[in-house]
Structure formats: C-alpha cells, structure tokens
Assembly symmetry: C2
Homo-oligomer: 134 residues x 2
C-alpha cells in the first residue's frame, strides 16, 4: 500500500524526455531563490523520504546529495509541484548560508544591467576552502 | 555597438538542446515563487527590452507575452542569471495577483503531504472568467 502511494505521487510528475524535472530551491527564511537543479525519480524520492535535497547532476550523470562534498546541505521543509506537474519547488533551510559552488550565497548572483550580466553579490567563502585544494 | 552588446548578453546564456532556458518568476512583493516557464532568445530579448515577461510555449510552440489573453502580465523589475548560465530568475510585479492559468495566485499550489499531492491554495478566479467562456 505504501509502495503504491509512493509510486503514485512520483508518477504524477511529468518527467521530461531525459526522465528529469527542474527543481527550484527557495530559502525558507530569506525567501531568496537559491538554486535551480534537476531531479530524477530517485532524487525526488530520496528528497521526500530523507528531507535532504537530492539532485541529478547532468554534467556528472550521477545522483548527488546537496552538501555531500561542500557541507552545504539543504534541509527540506516543503515540496511543491506546479499546475502542469513539470516543475518542483523546495522550501529549504540552507546549511552554512551558501548554496552555490562558487561560494556565493546563491546561484542567481548575476543581474542584467545595460544589456550585460554583472555579479552583484559577494563570494562569501573561497571555493578552495569549501571543497579543499584538490 | 548596441546590437553587439545585445547579442553578447544573449549568447552568454547556455541554451539547451531545444534552444531554451528555464525562467523562474518570483513576486517582488510577497517573495513567492510564481511560475517556471521557458524562454528562447526572442522571449528573453523582448523581456529585457519591454520589461514585460515573454516566454516560449512548448505546448503551443509559440512565443507568448505573459498576460496577453489573461491580462495577468508580469512587469519585470530584475533579470538574473545563475552561476552556470543555464537558468533565469525574474523579479516581477504580478498584474491582478494571479499568475496561474488555473486561477490560483501561483502555479506551485500543490504540496506533498503523506506522499500525495494536495492543492493547498485557493482558486482566486474561475478560469472561465479569466479567459472567457470559449
């Protein structure tokens, strides 16, 4: 019965031709939109069952728990689905106040001004410090 | 020169295999995430030059100005790009306080509870009233 329900809510999502869905993460406290990443079924199921954001990395072609190498996990307070069931919104508590691999608070730090993109938010932590020197 | 700059900021975007990019719209006042839609180059360029959100409808395969049939336009206050240049965030003023074609305030009105999706926000206006009876 549990398995049936589980399948049912996952199958309600309209997965794209790559079996993925875009997932927005929004900070529960500041309201800022932090990241847009992608999920496959396993990522969404793990996100729901563990309440930690999991994504599918398209560049590395692997499942990934947000924060597994950076420590910047996203604790998931709410999972939402849009009207046509092809986009997810997570309301999250962002560990460390940094969601971007560049060390910015969030990924959307470039703003269009006079038809050019400008970085308008600071780097809070050097990526070398976040990920180690290699 | 203007044309050169215009091309340059548009080409900085990492368009997907369908020449599209996902675009999140966030309400400037409430901070709520309203919609996730898709843009092609023309939609993004028109959004920047007119400051009214334009999208590419994948289902209808046509460019569309948000609000052209519903009246629920999105006036664009900010356009942002993410770290890897493959997602757009618009900060908008939502005309009529309704962004969803279902008459909900926003598209993300389904919330996951006990492994089922539940509508947790009201319909503010009957779609028949928004779009006319046919």
């Amino acid at each position: 019965m549990y398995q049936l329900k589980l399948m049912s809510w996952l199958e309600a999502v309209l997965w794209n031709e790559h079996e993925l869905v875009p997932a927005i993460a929004q900070d529960a406290v500041s309201g800022r939109v932090l990241t847009l990443a992608w999920m496959n079924r396993e990522a969404l199921e793990l996100t729901a069952t563990t309440r930690e954001a999991h994504y599918w990395s398209r560049s590395r072609a692997k499942l990934w728990r947000k924060g597994e190498s950076s420590g910047h996990a996203q604790r998931v307070l709410e999972i939402r689905l849009d009207c046509d069931s092809d986009a997810i919104l997570l309301i999250v508590a962002q560990e460390g106040g940094i969601s971007c691999h560049t060390g910015h608070a969030r990924c959307f730090y470039q703003r269009l001004e006079n038809y050019a993109w400008h970085d308008v938010e600071p780097v809070l932590k050097d990526p070398k410090e976040i990920y180690g020197d290699g």
